[in-house]
Symmetry: D3
Subunit: 130 residues, 6 copies
Amino acid sequence: MANLVNYEEASKEVRTVYDDIKHTRGVPDVNNFWKALAVHPPTLKRTWESLKEVMGPGTLDPLTKEMLYLAVSVTNGCGYCIASHGAAARKAGMTQEMWGEVLAIIGMANETNKLAFALQVPIDPMFQGP
Amino acid sequence: MANLVNYEEASKEVRTVYDDIKHTRGVPDVNNFWKALAVHPPTLKRTWESLKEVMGPGTLDPLTKEMLYLAVSVTNGCGYCIASHGAAARKAGMTQEMWGEVLAIIGMANETNKLAFALQVPIDPMFQGP
Amino acid sequence: MANLVNYEEASKEVRTVYDDIKHTRGVPDVNNFWKALAVHPPTLKRTWESLKEVMGPGTLDPLTKEMLYLAVSVTNGCGYCIASHGAAARKAGMTQEMWGEVLAIIGMANETNKLAFALQVPIDPMFQGP
Amino acid sequence: MANLVNYEEASKEVRTVYDDIKHTRGVPDVNNFWKALAVHPPTLKRTWESLKEVMGPGTLDPLTKEMLYLAVSVTNGCGYCIASHGAAARKAGMTQEMWGEVLAIIGMANETNKLAFALQVPIDPMFQGP
Amino acid sequence: MANLVNYEEASKEVRTVYDDIKHTRGVPDVNNFWKALAVHPPTLKRTWESLKEVMGPGTLDPLTKEMLYLAVSVTNGCGYCIASHGAAARKAGMTQEMWGEVLAIIGMANETNKLAFALQVPIDPMFQGP
Amino acid sequence: MANLVNYEEASKEVRTVYDDIKHTRGVPDVNNFWKALAVHPPTLKRTWESLKEVMGPGTLDPLTKEMLYLAVSVTNGCGYCIASHGAAARKAGMTQEMWGEVLAIIGMANETNKLAFALQVPIDPMFQGP
């Protein structure tokens, strides 16, 4: 089980990251992922700054971004990530119906990905190139 | 390398599926995935009907669906699927900028999924339950 | 690309393994997997001896064993392994119809595995225990 | 944790699927996988119908089918699926000895799949073609 | 949940392996992995002998070997393996700081592996060949 | 196939990253991974800066770092990454003998990871906790 570094026992370096997470997300405390990652402050800092950039405002809306994150997390079978990004997706507006469709797509994609492996399908010329 | 069943040599059962794919998608020929899957007509038929249902009209728009499909395919490393669903996503409106963001999310999700495994992070109570 | 060690240039240690593979399988030459693995003779020897034991006579018949090997190889997306164990399965009696069913099962299992991850389904009491 | 939809609270659409599962398998209740999948009735229905077709009578016997399902589930690390399909395989006749051989094959295949990746082994001409 | 075969109830064949593990590692009892694997004595014996050879004295030092084992285990998301090889790595000298760096590398490698898949990057000529 | 952005056609933003890669590594040109990633300049910049930090001077020596990177890349089956980090590892001092041992560990770890999944081995108390 992970060692979780709580705010009170955290170094100044770690607290600065925690503060930025709390401020950016408007939450009273950081979730366990960050408390576990604090075992290595440079990785905590880099991961948070990368995530903030990647999940921040852009061309794709926040809901689409969270659903993409969820699709990867399910494919990798990461229970923690499914729980945390599932919650984030629901918070960003994912309805039960949308979740059902995301679920269906994840299932089908994993099925057809493996069928394409099995058959070693050659790529059609029209799918190649820029 | 896969055996590809072309329309001319296909059985009536296979042709019926090919016809439905061509009609549904408005394409002159089916792509290699289906020609390879025709090695087992019941799997061809079932996979196509499932895919048609899953990727058909619903709550999520076609572009979001294709990007989700792409995110799974990249995570699984399926070259054929990346090529075909990448083309489908671009056709559905995925711009270069959107693709860049999808790319960034896939990368980050794969990174944090493995960090969460490494640290065996316990799920926060707020992420559990319905 | 792998360095392939051919019989002529192989050390005595490597030749002994090659000879056993050729004798056990009744083939005139070993396939590329072994020629590539010869980069590290102890791994070549151990892998061959393990494989010979695992795939040798037992409770399961050779065809079932090869189909199981194929199902894992497809799930991992190993092109070389799909090609070599696909050939071995066909040689052991896998018909086109059987291959179609193996294909369908691999597809469905990969789909439902990911659905079970997505939903974080709790294990039913009846499935637990010895 | 998944929301599980019990029969009493299920919609008519969901009950119809549950009834078919119970009837087809001769069980008094459906297992948790289906109760969790009921979150999205179209996916529940499609997944069950596909599974019924794929795992139903065919060229391969039920035991072989379940062992193949198990091999994929282990490779993907799906705990729920290992528990449920392990139980199904034992019910279909998988002895302790057979399970030991399945185990050994899964282990070896995962090992050699990764060795083949590591060495990027080129496919032998004899393994290619139809 | 696995059936665990304790020393007292183990067959002579299994005890011989257990004794060798205890002797080689200088531990009073074998860990659960071996007790679970004893379900199939030939796989227990072969796996132990292979592991003993692979993790035994060689060109790489024991710490490096354990960190490599850990990197694979995290990538595969094997909770048991992360726990046992994490403990072994710490015993072999992995400090908190080293673990932080291993963590960071595993994260980055998983990210860039998937980015390379996404972009289907062609291999540079300088990276090919012997 | 990836679009590769060469230096001549690159934007100023991309050139700045390319220049830093070339300078840091002492190479005349960047490899294809970066040229493909330039499709999305913010991801190019962030990925390079992260990689530079993670693979830069630290507690672990460069060779160990590259072997860890390689172990993850092989497990994920990323051909490009195996080629590029294999070259980097050899440049950092990985001998043929070391590579053989890395290979053997990757193989064994992938095998035992899946055996631990198959048996759903409970974690020993001594492996838990801080």
